[in-house]
Symmetry: C2
Subunit: 446 residues, 2 copies
C-alpha cells in the first residue's frame, strides 16, 4: 500500500481529500490527514480507512515520524509552512505536492531534489494551477500547428454566482480576504503591450481595467496582476509582444475599490493609533481633511472627486457600512488594511447557501500561414454552497489528480516542477472534465 | 591650539569653513579640512593656517591618524558615512558635530558618549537645524510666559529668489535633487489635526496642500512632511492638538508635481528595462496605456484628467521637456525616479548667477490668561550666486556657530544632542542675526 500524507484540512482541502479517498481502494493508497485541529480533519474524512492525526507542523519530530514511509506528501498549509516539510521530504526521499507558488527557498533545493530522483510539484491549484494547465495546452497546440504566438492575455476571478449577488459590488470574499484587500499593492504593476513595457503604480491599477465578455455570463472587468511577465519564460513566450495577466471582478468594482486605495485605507505598513476604539466612520475620517462641521460623506465626495449623481459608486461605498457609527471591534490597534478587511467581512462573508463562481479566460493571438488568428478559452465553475465552493473544488481537484499521476509513476520530470508539461496537463485536464471543469474555446480568424 | 577637523568640503561646507577660518585666530583654533578631492578642499580654504588633506573616509587608519589630538570633528559628509567617524571620535574622546538627522545607530552609542563626557551634536543645519533653534526659542518663550500651546505648524522651503524665476514651476534644484524627486514617498504621511490623527498616502500628499502668506514675499504652498509627529516629544508638545510640518513650494507646484506621482514616474523601486536607450517622450509613454495613433500628450491629458484649458498645469509639464525626443542619456538602465531626476536636471539646475532663497515659517497657537493667541515667525534668506547659496549659508553657519560654543565649553549637555536647548539656540540665533538670518515675528490675538 502507498502511504499519502496530507497536511492541512481547511477549506481548500475538502475536494482534495474526497478525491483521494474515492480513489484510494482502486489505487491501493492509505491516506493520512493531519491538521492542528483534529476535529476539522475528522470532519473532512469519510472513509474509515483514512487516518486523522492532530499535528503541529512546526514540530519537526512529529512531522518526521508521520511522513516516514510515505510515497507522497501533500501540503495544503499556508505557503510559509511548506519549507520545513519540504526539507523533511527531501531527507526521507518522498515526493511533495502543493498548490502554492514555487518559493525561492524551495527552488534552492532543486538540484538536490533532482539528485534524489524526486518530484516537488508546485502551483497546481486554480490560480496558479488550472491557469497553467489550460494556457499551456492552448499554447502548445497552437505551436504544434505552426502558429507563432504574438499576444497572450489571461484573467481569473473568484466571484459569487449571479443568483447570489445581493450587494452592489457583486462581490463577496470567497477566499483569503487579506489577499483581496492587498491586491495590487507592494510595487508597480508591469506588463508588455505591443512590444512596449508598461508600468502602473498601485494607486492607478484599479483605473486601468479591461472589459471582457464571457458568453452566457456577461461582462467582467479585469485589473492587472503585479507581474505579468513572470511566466514569459515558463510558457515559452520570450518574444511575445503583449503579455497581460489579471484578476476579474464584476464591472464597477474597480472604480469603487479605487476609493479605498485613494484614501490610503488599504495601507498595511503602519498601525493606526487608537484604532481599537474607533467606529467605521472614524476610521474613514482618519484619511480625510479636518473640518469642524462638514460631514464625512461630503468630505469624502469632495476629496475623491465623486460626482454628486454617481449613484453606482456611492451605493457601493454606502453598502459596505463604512459610514456607520458601529465600532470596528478589533481587539488591538491594527493597520488600515486589517481594519478595512474587518469592516468588509461584516458584509462580504458568504452566507451558508451562497454559491461562489470561478471565471477564467485566456486570449491568444497568433499568426499561422500568414493569417492572424485569435483563440479565446474560458472556464466558468459554480460552487454548491459555502463549504463546497468552486474555489475549493478548482484548487483541490487538479492537485489531487496530479498526485495520482505522480503515484502512478507517469511523470518523468524531476525537481521543483510546475504543471506546465503535457504529461501533467493532459491527464489532469481530461479528468477535470468529468467534474464539470471544462474550457470553452472560440476561434476567430481576422 | 585647539585642533578642528572638518570632513567634506562640498557645497554645504563653504560657509562653515569660512566662518571657522575667520574665527580661528581669535579663538586659537587650528583647522584641518579633509576631502576625497584635495583640490575641492584647497578651493574652499582661504587661510594659510588651514591644512587641507586628501582622505578616503572609509580608511579607518587614515581617519584615526588625522583626528588624533583634535578637540572637535565636524562631518559634512553624506549622512551614511558619519557612523564610522563617530566611532573613532568616541574611541579617541573627541566631540563631534553634524547637520544630519540623528541616526538610530548613533543614538545607540548615547550612553557611552555621555560616560566619556562628550558632545555629539546632530541636526544643526537648516532643516533640521534652524527650524529647531527658532521653534524652540518661540515655544520656550511662550511657555515661560504661562502660555499653553495648542497648535504648532512649521514649513521650510529651498526655492529660487523671485528675480531668478525663469520657468513656470518657480522652482529649481538648490539642494540634493534626488531628495526632491523622492519627497513624500516611502510610507504614509502622518500628522495630528485638532486632536485627530490624520494619514495621507503618498499619491495624495501633493493634493493636500496649505497656502501661507509671508509678508513681502507673497503666497507659498506647503505639503506635509512624512512624519510631523516625530518632534512632539523633543519639543515638549505631547498634548498639542495640531502638529503639522511641511515643505514650501511656490503655488501650483504641487498640483503639477502630482502628475509625475500619478504616472508612477517617481518610483524608485525598480529598474526600467531598456531605459538607457529611451527618449524623454518614450519614458513618459511607459506609464500610459498603449494606443496605435493617439499622441502621448493626449493620452496623458486623458489619463490624468487634465482639463484642456488648464494651461497653468500644462505649461509646467511642457517646460520640463518630458515630451521631447531627446535621449535621456543615462549610461545604464535606471529607476523611474533616477530618470525623472536626470530629465529635470537639464532644466532645473541653477545657472551661475541664479540666487536661491530659503523660506521658513512657524505658526504657534496658544492660550494665555484664557485668551487665544497666535504668533507667526518667518525667515527669508536669499543666496548670492550658484556657489554662495542661502542653502549653504543656512546649513553651514549654525553648525559652525554651535561648534564655537562647544569649543568654548559653554555647553553643559552631553551625549547625542539636538540644538533644542537655550544654551545652544540663544547664542547661535543671536550670532546668525549678524549674517542677516533674522526671524520676523507677528503676534495675533484672537
Amino acid at each position: 500500500m502507498k502511504k499519502i500524507v496530507v497536511f492541512g484540512a481547511g477549506l481548500s482541502a475538502t475536494y482534495l481529500i474526497s478525491y483521494l479517498e474515492e480513489n484510494a481502494a482502486e489505487n491501493n493508497w492509505r491516506l493520512y490527514v493531519a491538521d492542528r485541529d483534529l476535529a476539522l480533519a475528522i470532519g473532512k474524512c469519510k472513509s474509515e480507512n483514512t487516518q486523522c492525526i492532530a499535528i503541529d507542523s512546526n514540530d519537526d519530530e512529529a512531522v518526521s515520524k508521520l511522513i516516514s514511509g510515505a510515497s507522497l506528501v501533500v501540503s495544503m498549509l499556508p505557503a510559509s509552512l511548506h519549507i520545513r516539510i519540504a526539507r523533511e521530504c527531501l531527507f526521507q526521499k518522498i515526493h511533495l505536492a502543493t498548490a502554492s507558488y514555487l518559493s525561492a527557498e524551495l527552488q534552492e533545493l532543486d538540484a538536490e531534489i533532482k539528485k534524489n530522483d524526486l518530484i516537488f510539484l508546485n502551483e497546481c491549484g486554480l490560480d496558479p494551477g488550472i491557469d497553467h494547465l489550460s494556457a499551456m495546452k492552448l499554447l502548445d497546440s497552437i505551436r504544434l500547428q505552426g502558429g507563432e504566438i504574438t499576444e497572450f492575455e489571461s484573467f481569473t476571478g473568484g466571484l459569487v454566482a449571479p443568483e447570489c449577488v445581493d450587494n452592489p459590488w457583486g462581490y463577496k470574499f470567497t477566499w483569503n480576504p487579506r489577499n483581496v484587500v492587498l491586491a495590487g499593492s507592494g510595487g508597480a504593476v508591469k506588463f508588455i503591450h505591443n512590444g512596449q513595457y508598461k508600468f502602473i503604480p498601485y494607486h492607478r491599477v484599479f483605473r486601468r481595467t479591461e472589459l471582457v465578455n464571457i458568453k452566457g455570463y456577461g461582462k467582467f472587468e479585469g485589473y492587472a496582476n503585479r507581474d505579468s511577465l513572470k511566466y514569459r519564460e515558463t510558457y515559452g513566450l520570450h518574444h511575445v509582444k503583449t503579455m497581460y495577466r489579471g484578476t476579474f471582478r464584476r464591472p464597477g468594482f474597480s472604480k469603487a475599490w479605487n476609493s479605498f486605495v485613494q484614501l490610503g485605507a488599504t495601507d498595511d505598513s503602519y498601525i493606526l493609533p487608537n484604532s481599537s476604539q474607533m467606529s467605521h466612520r472614524e476610521f474613514i475620517n482618519t484619511f480625510l481633511p479636518y473640518h469642524q462641521t462638514d460631514s464625512i460623506e461630503l468630505k469624502l465626495k469632495s476629496y475623491l472627486g465623486i460626482e454628486q449623481d454617481d449613484i453606482y459608486l456611492w451605493e457601493k461605498l454606502e453598502s459596505t457600512g463604512i459610514f456607520s457609527d458601529e465600532k470596528i471591534g478589533l481587539p488591538s490597534d491594527s493597520t488600515p488594511a486589517q481594519i478595512l478587511q474587518c469592516i468588509l467581512e461584516k458584509k462580504w462573508s458568504l452566507k451558508d447557501d451562497d454559491r461562489d463562481m470561478i471565471v477564467m479566460w485566456h486570449r491568444v493571438c497568433y499568426t499561422q500561414n500568414n493569417t492572424s488568428k485569435t483563440v479565446e478559452s474560458s472556464l466558468v465553475c459554480e460552487g454548491q454552497d459555502r463549504k463546497h465552493t468552486a474555489m475549493a473544488k478548482t484548487v483541490g481537484l487538479p492537485l489531487a489528480m496530479a498526485c495520482k499521476q505522480i503515484l502512478k509513476g507517469s511523470i518523468s520530470l524531476r525537481g521543483c516542477i510546475l504543471p506546465t508539461h503535457p504529461e501533467i496537463y493532459t491527464p489532469v485536464l481530461n479528468e477535470l472534465k468529468k467534474y464539470g471543469i471544462v474550457f470553452n474555446e472560440t476561434q476567430i480568424t481576422v
